[in-house]
Every structure is written in C-alpha cells, then in structure tokens.
Symmetry: C2
Subunit: 214 residues, 2 copies
DNA sequence: GTTAGCATGTAAGGAGTTACATGATTTT
DNA sequence: AAAATCATGTAACTCCTTACATGCTAAC
C-alpha cells in the first residue's frame, strides 16, 4: 500500500487537474501554492513526473519549441544519437482518466493521511477540489490531532522529567502557542464550513432564512 | 566544509555539556527540548553518537548495569572479555575536551547557519550556554531573515503570477501570519536581551566583559 | 555580447525513518 | 506469566538536495 509522503504527487495531480502545465511552470506554482514552507527542487520534480507517467496517471504532450517557430533548423543535422537535443522545448503534462480518478479518490479520503503535519497543507490547498463533507472531516480530524498534541505537551510540562532552563522553556511556550493558534484558526474554518453546509443543504429546495424575513 | 544539518550534532553536544547521559535518555531529552517539532529516532541517534565518538568529540563510559546495586549481583562475575552481551547495560556519553571546545565554537557563531529554519530552534534552546552578545546577534539575524521572507511573500501576492483560489489564499494568509508572529516574538526577546546587556554592563563582576562594543 | 532566466534532465549522496534483532527489568 | 518499558544497535529504504550537463531566448 502507498503510505508515505505523497505530498508532491498529490500536489502535482491537483495542479494538473486545474490546467496542463510543463515542469518548470509546475514547480513555480507548486512553490507558490505550498508557499515557502515546502519548496521542491527539479531533482525531485522531474523524476516524480516520470514516475507518474510510468504509472499512467499523467501523460505528456510535447509542445512546439516556442509558439512562433519561424527559425528553421527543424531537420536535425548529422548527429542523432541523443534522444532529442535538449533545449527550449516544453514537455506539457496533463492528467489521464486514471489520474483524475486517482486524484478524486485521494481527495475523498479523510483519514490521518489527510491531517498529519506532512500532508495537511497540500490537502487544504486543494480544498477547492474537495467536496464539502470531506473538507469538514479533514478539518475536524486535524483539530483533534492538534488538541491531542496539546494535551501531551501540557502533561510533559506539569510532570517535568527534567528541568529546562529559561530559554528552552520559552521555546516550548512559543511552540505551544503556535499549536493553540492553529486550533483557533481551525475553529473559524470549521464554523464557516458548517455554515456553508447548512446553507447548501437548504438551498436546493428552499432558501435559508439568514438575514431577511425580519 | 561542514555545512548541513548539524542540528542533531549540536543538540547532542549541548545536552551532554549539561550532564553525561546514555543514548536512551538522551533521545528523550532531545525530544523534550526540541519538543514535538523535531523528533529523532534511535536509527538516527546511535549512528550519530558513533560518529561523534570517532571524531573524538565525545567519549563513552560504560556504566554498571543499574545504578542502585542493592539487589545482589553487584559483583559482576568475570565478564569484560566480550563487548558485553546486549541488555540492560548503559553506554554513557560525555564531552571530551575537544568536544567542549567544538561546542563553544559552534555556539559562538552568529551566521546564517544559526538563524535559518533548520538550526534556529536548537541554537535558541542552547541560549543558556551562549554568551549574551551572540544571543542578540542570532536573534537579530533571524529577525532580518524573516522580514526578508515577509517581503518576498507580499511581493508575490501583489504581483500574482497566477490566481489562487479561496483556500490556497487562506493558507498563504495563515502562513504569513505565522511569520509575522514570530517576528513579534523576536522583538520581545531582543528588547529583553538588550535590557539584560545594559544591566550587566553596569555590574561587571564575573563572566567575560571582552569585546569592544563602543 | 553577455548575463539572466527559461527549460529539462541525471548522478551522487545526505539525512532520517521504519523495521528488525536482542535482551534485561519493572509493572500488572 | 504477560506486558510494558528500558536499552542498544543494524539494514534497508525513502525522500529530497546539490551539483552537474545541456542549450535556448530575452533583456540589458
């Protein structure tokens, strides 16, 4: 079974589902969307794309070298030993039918794999392609996970196995605060999602009585 | 040229400088001090300790099995020949003279290696063993680093190369907020350190007073 | 006319994890 | 007597980075 990171794979699939892209552009988008906290290099991206092609989840469409191809030289002179002379060609990737299917099944899961540290950010970034029910369950799962961590954190503070000095304590305090802030952030998101779910479930038949009807 | 992580190495040296420890205990302390955001496994720790021994920075002192020897068996019958059959023995590590020297030189550096994401936490956790001048410079260096990041972040938002959807934007916003909070945290620490430095320069009792500072 | 950015890839290797192997001691 | 925890270690593997190799095109 596929267990691990999948972060890059999911991110690539998610971005390509929005529009086909070539590797270079893909990397920029990746690092924009997952902004600053997770930057992948080409040495990671290209082999990963290769793997996805092999597994049939994405397909390549070699594009013409630059849209205006007025320069001749298309004939390839003499030495053809190489598998296409590298250069300003672009290899455009897009999802296959299986790729779309796979992505949907990934985005529909709401288990630990979705809310653990490594994966949560990507999954959240792709919430636009995730259904409302799953969004809510992922947010709640993450919230539970964080409060568990908070619990363990506080316990180890009240039962100190060894004394920490001033600075180590301050570092812990700040770390705790970060987690608390994320929980608070999640609370806001969760209530927004619940509001949306309520509005949506009433919407098809009857309009929710939110502001009007006073 | 030692460039990389060094995180574990520095952390180990720092902890052993406070008191000699055996591997198992060391790991627990490590994960307490660097709490939750960086947990190392034995598969990482033991080889690292081995390496530090090889490099002469730490030395082992094989301890008697179980410190409280009230239970018979204190004598330990003719052993010593074998590398000791695995079990409840403890290999206690402590810093050598070179190890102490090395640690001091590491803790005295205030360059990017001290304030980049990977290393900052460990360096901060060891501020209790760092001199005031270096503490301040590390904090300021980190602050500058973070404000640079903030700048780049905002620029890429005001010059959007591609539009991000609602959730991706929210993720970015929250990420930005985290960085802003850390800057604010640093501001508090920096002013505390400055206050301390001022107070200390009035009572030049012990400790080093070297360095100019005009 | 040279620098900077675009574009694609490969090879070597570092840092860390999981799973395994072994066994003693404490607790239930 | 079983289970948990203490304690040390190794082997295989994963993920990712750096450095390299190649060459086009735009801008200064």
């Amino acid at each position: 079974m596929r267990s691990r990171s999948d972060v890059l794979e999911t991110a690539v699939l998610g971005l390509l589902n929005e529009s086909p892209l070539h590797g270079y552009e893909l990397r920029k988008r990746l690092n924009l969307v997952l902004g600053s906290f997770r930057a992948f290099s080409y040495g990671t991206l290209y082999p990963a794309l290769k793997g996805l092609v092999t597994r049939g989840l994405i397909a390549t469409t070699e594009s013409d070298p630059t849209p205006p191809p007025r320069k001749g030289k298309t004939g390839i002179p003499g030495r053809t030993a190489k598998p296409m002379p590298l250069g300003r060609r672009r290899v455009v990737y897009e999802l296959t039918a299986e790729g779309k299917e796979h992505l949907q099944s990934v985005l529909a899961t709401a288990g630990p794999a979705a809310w653990e540290d490594d994966n949560f950010d990507v999954r959240f970034a792709l919430f636009g392609q995730t259904d409302a029910d799953t969004r809510l369950r992922v947010l709640e799962g993450r919230r539970t996970r964080l409060t568990e961590r908070l619990e363990a954190f506080r316990e180890s503070t009240t039962h100190p196995r060894s004394r920490l000095d001033e600075y180590a304590l301050e570092l812990r305090r700040f770390g705790l605060e970060k987690v608390e802030r994320e929980v608070h952030w999640l609370d806001g998101l969760i209530s927004t999602e619940r509001g949306r779910a309520a509005a949506q479930s009433h919407s098809p038949q009857q309009e929710q009585t939110k502001k009007e009807r006073g």
